[in-house]
Protein backbone atom coordinates (compact mmCIF):
# COMPACT_ATOMS: atom_id res chain seq x y z
CA UNK A 1 0.00 0.00 0.00
CA UNK A 2 2.79 2.36 -0.97
CA UNK A 3 2.63 5.95 -2.20
CA UNK A 4 3.86 7.68 -5.35
CA UNK A 5 5.14 11.14 -4.41
CA UNK A 6 5.30 13.66 -7.25
CA UNK A 7 7.53 16.73 -6.97
CA UNK A 8 7.38 19.44 -9.63
CA UNK A 9 9.66 22.16 -8.28
CA UNK A 10 13.40 22.62 -8.13
CA UNK A 11 14.86 21.81 -4.70
CA UNK A 12 17.05 24.89 -5.15
CA UNK A 13 13.99 27.15 -5.27
CA UNK A 14 11.49 25.54 -2.92
CA UNK A 15 11.35 23.29 0.08
CA UNK A 16 8.82 20.85 -1.43
CA UNK A 17 11.31 18.23 -2.58
CA UNK A 18 13.10 18.18 0.78
CA UNK A 19 9.73 17.82 2.50
CA UNK A 20 8.72 14.99 0.16
CA UNK A 21 11.98 13.18 0.91
CA UNK A 22 11.30 13.57 4.64
CA UNK A 23 7.87 11.92 4.29
CA UNK A 24 8.53 8.80 2.24
CA UNK A 25 8.00 5.36 3.68
CA UNK A 26 9.87 2.19 2.66
CA UNK A 27 8.47 0.99 -0.66
CA UNK A 28 7.35 4.46 -1.74
CA UNK A 29 8.56 6.13 -4.91
CA UNK A 30 9.37 9.73 -5.76
CA UNK A 31 8.72 10.95 -9.29
CA UNK A 32 10.37 14.21 -10.32
CA UNK A 33 8.40 16.07 -12.97
CA UNK A 34 8.55 19.57 -14.50
CA UNK A 35 11.20 21.70 -12.72
CA UNK A 36 11.49 18.93 -10.14
CA UNK A 37 13.86 17.05 -12.44
CA UNK A 38 16.48 19.72 -11.77
CA UNK A 39 16.99 18.06 -8.40
CA UNK A 40 18.28 14.89 -10.08
CA UNK A 41 21.47 16.49 -11.39
CA UNK A 42 24.69 14.87 -10.29
CA UNK A 43 27.10 17.10 -8.38
CA UNK A 44 24.40 19.51 -7.22
CA UNK A 45 24.02 20.37 -3.54
CA UNK A 46 20.76 18.42 -3.41
CA UNK A 47 22.35 15.23 -4.79
CA UNK A 48 23.67 14.37 -1.33
CA UNK A 49 20.18 14.52 0.08
CA UNK A 50 18.89 12.12 -2.58
CA UNK A 51 21.74 9.72 -1.91
CA UNK A 52 20.76 9.55 1.76
CA UNK A 53 17.28 8.45 0.86
CA UNK A 54 16.90 4.74 1.25
CA UNK A 55 13.94 2.49 0.83
CA UNK A 56 12.34 4.70 -1.81
CA UNK A 57 12.99 4.57 -5.55
CA UNK A 58 13.52 7.80 -7.44
CA UNK A 59 12.20 8.42 -10.94
CA UNK A 60 12.49 11.41 -13.26
CA UNK A 61 10.26 12.21 -16.23
CA UNK A 62 12.28 11.90 -19.46
CA UNK A 63 10.48 14.59 -21.48
CA UNK A 64 11.09 17.09 -18.67
CA UNK A 65 14.76 16.12 -18.48
CA UNK A 66 15.18 16.59 -22.23
CA UNK A 67 13.55 20.01 -22.16
CA UNK A 68 16.08 21.08 -19.56
CA UNK A 69 19.06 19.67 -21.44
CA UNK A 70 19.65 16.82 -18.99
CA UNK A 71 21.01 13.50 -20.23
CA UNK A 72 20.97 10.17 -18.39
CA UNK A 73 24.66 10.63 -17.60
CA UNK A 74 23.91 13.92 -15.82
CA UNK A 75 21.79 12.21 -13.18
CA UNK A 76 22.48 11.06 -9.67
CA UNK A 77 23.07 7.32 -9.71
CA UNK A 78 19.93 5.29 -9.16
CA UNK A 79 17.49 7.77 -10.66
CA UNK A 80 15.39 5.97 -13.23
CA UNK A 81 13.98 7.74 -16.29
CA UNK A 82 10.35 7.15 -17.29
CA UNK A 83 8.01 8.63 -19.90
CA UNK A 84 4.41 9.74 -19.44
CA UNK A 85 3.40 6.10 -19.93
CA UNK A 86 5.76 5.11 -17.13
CA UNK A 87 4.22 7.88 -15.01
CA UNK A 88 0.83 6.22 -15.51
CA UNK A 89 2.27 2.80 -14.62
CA UNK A 90 3.75 4.23 -11.43
CA UNK A 91 0.37 5.63 -10.36
CA UNK A 92 -1.12 2.18 -10.92
CA UNK A 93 1.68 0.39 -9.07
CA UNK A 94 1.22 2.52 -5.95
CA UNK A 95 -1.96 2.83 -3.93
CA UNK A 96 -2.16 6.61 -4.00
CA UNK A 97 -0.46 9.69 -5.42
CA UNK A 98 0.71 12.50 -3.16
CA UNK A 99 1.58 15.71 -5.05
CA UNK A 100 3.98 17.95 -3.14
CA UNK A 101 2.77 21.26 -4.57
Amino acid sequence: MSTLHTVNKSPYERVSMATACAHVLPGDAILMIEDGVLGARKGGAFAKRLAELDGAKIFALGPDLAARGMKATDLVEGVEIVGYDGFVDLTVAHARVCAWL
Binding site: M1, S2, T3, V15, S16, T19, A22, H23, V24, L25, D28, A95, R96, V97, C98, A99, W100, L101
Partner: protein
Protein backbone atom coordinates in the same frame (compact mmCIF):
# COMPACT_ATOMS: atom_id res chain seq x y z
CA UNK B 1 -22.47 7.50 -3.03
CA UNK B 2 -23.99 5.28 -0.37
CA UNK B 3 -23.10 2.06 -2.19
CA UNK B 4 -19.39 2.82 -1.73
CA UNK B 5 -17.41 2.24 1.42
CA UNK B 6 -16.07 5.43 2.98
CA UNK B 7 -12.75 6.65 1.68
CA UNK B 8 -10.04 8.32 3.73
CA UNK B 9 -9.47 11.82 2.38
CA UNK B 10 -6.33 13.63 3.47
CA UNK B 11 -6.00 17.35 2.74
CA UNK B 12 -2.39 18.51 2.79
CA UNK B 13 -1.91 22.15 3.76
CA UNK B 14 1.63 23.36 3.17
CA UNK B 15 1.10 27.01 2.22
CA UNK B 16 0.79 30.15 4.28
CA UNK B 17 -2.53 32.02 4.20
CA UNK B 18 -3.16 35.40 2.44
CA UNK B 19 -0.01 35.50 0.27
CA UNK B 20 -1.76 33.03 -1.99
CA UNK B 21 -5.36 31.77 -2.15
CA UNK B 22 -4.54 28.06 -1.78
CA UNK B 23 -5.29 27.89 1.97
CA UNK B 24 -8.68 29.57 1.55
CA UNK B 25 -9.78 27.60 -1.49
CA UNK B 26 -8.56 24.38 0.10
CA UNK B 27 -10.79 25.11 3.08
CA UNK B 28 -13.73 25.61 0.71
CA UNK B 29 -13.16 22.09 -0.62
CA UNK B 30 -13.09 20.70 2.91
CA UNK B 31 -16.42 22.36 3.74
CA UNK B 32 -18.12 21.06 0.61
CA UNK B 33 -16.47 17.66 1.01
CA UNK B 34 -17.89 17.30 4.52
CA UNK B 35 -21.34 16.67 3.03
CA UNK B 36 -20.08 13.50 1.33
CA UNK B 37 -19.60 11.66 4.63
CA UNK B 38 -16.13 10.36 3.97
CA UNK B 39 -13.36 10.04 6.55
CA UNK B 40 -11.62 13.40 6.48
CA UNK B 41 -8.25 14.43 7.93
CA UNK B 42 -6.35 17.68 7.50
CA UNK B 43 -2.56 17.79 7.62
CA UNK B 44 -0.72 21.02 8.37
CA UNK B 45 2.98 21.06 7.69
CA UNK B 46 5.66 23.41 6.37
CA UNK B 47 4.16 26.91 6.04
CA UNK B 48 0.68 25.39 6.29
CA UNK B 49 1.01 25.62 10.08
CA UNK B 50 0.72 29.42 9.74
CA UNK B 51 -2.93 28.93 8.69
CA UNK B 52 -3.77 28.08 12.31
CA UNK B 53 -2.01 31.02 13.98
CA UNK B 54 -4.06 32.84 16.61
CA UNK B 55 -4.92 36.50 16.16
CA UNK B 56 -5.07 36.90 12.37
CA UNK B 57 -6.55 40.14 11.07
CA UNK B 58 -6.47 40.75 7.35
CA UNK B 59 -8.56 43.96 7.35
CA UNK B 60 -5.63 46.23 6.46
CA UNK B 61 -4.63 44.18 3.43
CA UNK B 62 -8.22 44.34 2.27
CA UNK B 63 -8.95 40.65 2.66
CA UNK B 64 -11.34 38.51 4.62
CA UNK B 65 -9.94 37.02 7.84
CA UNK B 66 -11.06 33.48 7.12
CA UNK B 67 -9.24 31.92 10.10
CA UNK B 68 -12.47 31.59 12.08
CA UNK B 69 -13.68 29.03 9.57
CA UNK B 70 -11.17 26.52 10.95
CA UNK B 71 -12.95 26.79 14.30
CA UNK B 72 -16.23 25.84 12.67
CA UNK B 73 -14.85 22.63 11.18
CA UNK B 74 -16.07 20.60 14.15
CA UNK B 75 -19.66 21.40 13.17
CA UNK B 76 -18.94 19.87 9.77
CA UNK B 77 -17.71 16.63 11.39
CA UNK B 78 -14.13 17.53 10.46
CA UNK B 79 -12.34 16.76 13.69
CA UNK B 80 -8.90 15.50 12.79
CA UNK B 81 -6.38 18.25 12.23
CA UNK B 82 -2.80 16.98 12.34
CA UNK B 83 -0.06 19.56 12.87
CA UNK B 84 3.55 18.60 12.34
CA UNK B 85 5.75 19.39 15.34
CA UNK B 86 8.95 19.79 13.32
CA UNK B 87 7.29 22.39 11.08
CA UNK B 88 6.19 24.39 14.11
CA UNK B 89 9.62 24.26 15.74
CA UNK B 90 11.49 25.32 12.61
CA UNK B 91 9.29 28.44 12.44
CA UNK B 92 9.71 29.34 16.10
CA UNK B 93 6.11 28.38 16.89
CA UNK B 94 4.63 26.38 19.75
CA UNK B 95 1.19 24.88 20.31
CA UNK B 96 0.26 28.02 22.28
CA UNK B 97 0.62 30.18 19.17
CA UNK B 98 -2.22 28.33 17.44
CA UNK B 99 -5.93 28.97 17.85
CA UNK B 100 -7.80 26.41 19.91
CA UNK B 101 -10.00 24.29 17.68
CA UNK B 102 -12.47 21.97 19.36
CA UNK B 103 -15.48 19.84 18.60
CA UNK B 104 -18.37 18.63 20.69
CA UNK B 105 -18.34 14.91 21.27
CA UNK B 106 -21.95 13.73 21.03
CA UNK B 107 -20.95 10.38 22.57
CA UNK B 108 -19.71 12.07 25.74
CA UNK B 109 -22.49 14.49 26.50
CA UNK B 110 -21.16 17.05 24.01
CA UNK B 111 -17.92 17.53 25.88
CA UNK B 112 -15.52 19.85 24.04
CA UNK B 113 -12.48 18.02 22.73
CA UNK B 114 -9.47 19.30 20.83
CA UNK B 115 -9.46 18.74 17.07
CA UNK B 116 -5.77 19.53 16.70
CA UNK B 117 -3.31 16.69 17.17
CA UNK B 118 0.41 17.39 17.21
CA UNK B 119 2.37 14.71 15.42
CA UNK B 120 5.98 13.95 14.61
CA UNK B 121 7.13 13.87 11.01
CA UNK B 122 7.22 10.05 10.96
CA UNK B 123 3.60 9.95 12.10
CA UNK B 124 2.68 12.42 9.34
CA UNK B 125 4.34 10.13 6.80
CA UNK B 126 2.23 7.22 8.14
CA UNK B 127 -0.95 9.29 7.82
CA UNK B 128 -0.21 9.86 4.15
CA UNK B 129 0.44 6.16 3.71
CA UNK B 130 -2.94 5.28 5.22
CA UNK B 131 -5.02 7.60 3.04
CA UNK B 132 -7.08 6.70 0.01
CA UNK B 133 -7.16 10.15 -1.55
CA UNK B 134 -4.55 12.86 -0.99
CA UNK B 135 -5.57 16.37 -2.01
CA UNK B 136 -2.90 19.06 -2.19
CA UNK B 137 -3.35 22.58 -3.49
Amino acid sequence: MSENPKKKFLYINRKAPYGTIYALESLEVVLIGAAFEQEVSLAFLDDGVFQLIEGQNAADIGMKTFAKTYRALGDYEVRKLYVEKESLAERGLTAEDLMPIVYEDEDEDYAEKPSIHFVERAEMARLIGESDVVLSF
